[in-house]
Symmetry: C2
Subunit: 516 residues, 2 copies
């Protein structure tokens, strides 16, 4: 007989109260910064028509399989490009169970949202009259990727926290993207100089490749995908994949692009040939490049504009740098791209020094809305990888949030349940979190074990004697745990952490124990 195993799907996970507390600290602090820059909180469904989201996943050999997709159980009409229902040769409407996808990011749904608002017959039929309206939103929530390889710290469901400005090509919005990321991370609790916001421009990369003679669009995308994974496969791996190909660890053959050695050398020189990290110096080096051409020049001018504004507003190289080798995986980026790298390392469970790598990413995607609307709509934005950032904060112990469980009222006699409930009600009236112990194992040891496991702060103990005397016994569990390490004598320990107080003073004493 087939059985049911109670388990999560591989790559998915449950979030416990401490991690949830941290996750929502990150979301609250960053959202406040987003709001302060004028972004407003929108939400979109987790499930969308697959064709609305498109396919822009970063390279991991799973461009087509990286998304959870399935057929809509509902059958619906098929439309042509003008939005009219399609018919077959006999004039019957064509119908289909469309493909649905769990969103793989929050940018593609934003593009759908924006396009849907504007996708009116008036706009469709008079594209020349159209000027895109401005739209600024932030959004957070889970996104889904069917990752075939689940490295440590990688999940198939993870949270992102995005902000985007749609409807402008103003480079100030790009500079602002770097500022928002920096401000948000510091509001969350990252120290200055423990992270870098890195900026590059796809136009510079594209211009450079054109200058090298690589003008084919699909070849360009292939080169960028390989450059993007240089972090993973190393510079040698990158050079091999640009050239004759290589074998990976499993022995599988990864074919190369077959570029000439001189071209590969030029690429390596360009990506890593900068002698100084100062933004001004990188701009100067780039402007002297022998590969200069109009696209390259446009990208360079944008970077210069971004640098100018950042400098004027005090965002120096201890926060924002230029990184000429930065690509960012998503295929929809068209201009400036952003990434935040944490500079902190930590020792993992296996005793190895590790970094979490990129904690934010973003860029300009001037083609993403256009694809749905047939009209040009420039846009720029970025995303905090909430779960990756939480892992960083946990592993580096950068942020210790105080997270206590409730006060617990122990149950010695179920006949006294009403009394226990009244005690809880009294404490709650003073906004103190309290639970009454409902467990089926009533001995004191089991109740205390449950209190420990729930990180309860204070235990309220009332037996028949206490009830008659009109008192309650309070045990400070937090202090108790601390003192347990230094005080061996049980009675001495009890004296310090446990007091008997008149019922009328209970609320005040509990508040003192909780330091409220």
């Amino acid at each position: 007989m087939r059985g049911i195993i109670p388990q999560k799907i591989k790559g998915f996970r449950d979030i416990d109260p401490q991690l949830n507390n941290l996750r929502h600290h990150v979301i609250a602090k960053a959202s406040k910064v987003y709001k302060n820059y004028g972004f407003e909180h929108w939400d979109t469904p987790a499930l969308e028509y697959a064709d609305c989201l498109g396919k822009y996943m970063p390279d991991d050999d799973s461009v087509d399989q990286g998304v959870y997709s399935f057929r809509n159980p509902e059958i619906e009409p098929i439309h042509d490009e003008k939005g009219n229902r399609m018919v077959d040769e006999e004039g019957n409407f064509l119908m289909e169970n469309h493909f649905l996808s769990l969103r793989y990011d929050l940018t593609a749904p934003l593009s759908r949202l924006y396009a849907e608002k504007l996708w009116t017959p008036a706009v469709r039929n008079n594209p020349n009259n159209f000027r895109p309206s401005l739209f600024r939103r932030y959004q957070y929530g889970p996104v889904y990727r069917f990752e075939t390889k689940l490295d440590p710290g990688r999940f198939r469901e993870f949270w992102q926290l995005d902000f985007d400005t749609v409807g402008t090509s103003d480079i100030s919005a790009d500079a602002e993207t770097a500022m928002v990321l920096s401000d948000a991370l510091e509001a969350i609790g990252l120290k200055r100089d423990t992270y870098r916001v890195k900026i590059n421009n796809r136009k510079v990369l594209k211009g450079f490749l054109v200058g090298l003679g690589l003008t084919d669009e699909s070849l360009e995308q292939s080169v960028l995908r390989i450059v993007d994974k240089a972090d993973k496969i190393g510079q040698d791996g990158m050079m091999l994949e640009l050239g004759r190909g290589r074998k990976d660890i499993s022995g599988a053959i990864i074919p190369g692009l077959g570029l000439e050695q001189s071209v590969i050398s030029s690429i390596v020189d360009f990506l890593h040939g900068f002698s100084s990290a100062a933004r001004k110096n990188i701009l100067a080096s780039l402007s002297n490049s022998k590969f200069m051409n109009p696209v390259f020049e446009e990208g360079l001018k944008e970077l210069a504009g971004i640098d100018e504004l950042l400098a004027q507003l005090g965002y120096e190289e201890d926060r924002v740098i230029f990184e000429p080798s930065l690509v960012r995986g998503m295929a929809y980026y068209t201009g400036p791209v952003f990434e935040v790298e944490s500079l902190q390392s930590f020792i993992d469970e296996k005793g190895l020094e590790r970094r979490v790598g990129s904690i934010c990413g973003g860029g300009r995607y001037d083609g993403l809305v256009s694809r749905l609307l047939g009209l040009s709509v420039p846009a720029v934005g970025a995303s905090i990888g909430v779960d990756r950032l939480c892992e960083l904060l946990v592993q580096t112990k950068s942020l210790e949030l105080d997270y206590s469980g409730p006060v617990i009222v122990l149950v010695f006699d179920t006949a006294m349940m009403t009394e226990y409930q009244k005690i809880a009600q009294e404490l709650r009236a003073s906004d103190i979190a309290v639970e009454v112990y409902y467990g089926m194992q009533k001995n004191l040891k089991k109740q205390m074990a449950y209190a420990d496991q729930s990180r309860c702060s204070v235990a309220v103990l009332v037996g028949e004697d206490e009830l008659k005397k009109g008192v309650v016994t309070l045990r400070n569990l937090k202090l108790g745990a601390e003192l347990a390490a230094t005080i061996a004598d049980k009675n001495e320990w009890k004296e310090k952490v446990q007091i008997e107080v008149p019922r009328g003073e209970m609320v005040q004493k509990v508040k003192e124990m909780l330091s409220l």
Copy 2:
């Protein structure tokens, strides 16, 4: 050529900033109450193995089709009931792409979470040594149902906010469920006496049906499903479906259960034959029932215990009532069931008086975890229908949250962008939300239209002259909108809502306009 229509899936929706603000007000206020009762915040994935969630959907003729399910793209082993991998006749491991489902509620995933923690070989092999541990959590997030009929206010993605106590059969936890619901709704902003927490007990219903001679389990479920939808189909419809069947509006034939008329009359009498709404009176009537039997009696005793505790703690009939006709749709309930009904009505867009109906539901489900664990684990909990409650608050205007957009810095000259950015930075340093206008349409009218649409509170206007004079012009947009109704003269209006202040006083003046 096939086109892409930018649109959401039918039954899904985007949430705008105002509604999002309301939704998160509801979540924050209720979560605080849940926490104060000692529930802790856990999260589980939106996607689960279909067999872990099981099939417990309420009746809407779509018990099998009500869930979004699809095959896992990953192939995985099949296990037997003991958790061992299954093999075919030749000894090869059996593999399969398991069915995955988007969660249809938060209770089934909670059961999986609890069972997964305990599903160890030690527990599986020694069920006699097992005493369930106590587990109390709250959780919120979207759930998914493939509703075939989309009535107004019904969605395929909607948010729930659950709290549950797993591992106890203590009836105090059931009484507490009603208390938490009442406290949470009042914390959100519902006025006393505008809602009722309704309680019934499935054991009383089951006992009554047994007393009537309806002992077949599947017949019992069928009767309860029909009784549950009496609200929708009316009492006549219910009686017909219990008897010879009926035709629905579309003319489709709905077969009946074929019960005898006397049995149907007894059911109707039992459900609606109570002369008083007082809990004590209902208990008295029930205890005199001629259908009394052990199951009935057990249910009655539980209701009496719940009443006792509620009365002692001051939860009277203006908050919590007994409702002998209450069933609740989910098939997993085994004991007390809960529902909250809003008593408020409102006039909808079509001019019709409407109610939102049930805004919370819950109950005891002692079999749900057992199904996954093979061990008895009693549990009770309830859920606030967040989106239904938000609709109620919006439609009845019970709660007017102040939700303003940011201050906006208008852009008259892009050459002055650095200056505009510095103004924004200065205001943000005082924790004021500000955006700089990045739209591509720069004329004043378009900028003001955008500010209106974004509900901006204050506009900062700086041209070349102001910059030279060291001043800024501030326009109070909120006051402006209010005065526009009463002041016709443009100059008089401007005088009231617009001031020029020295740059050094800008922050203070903006704060005054925002009443900070």
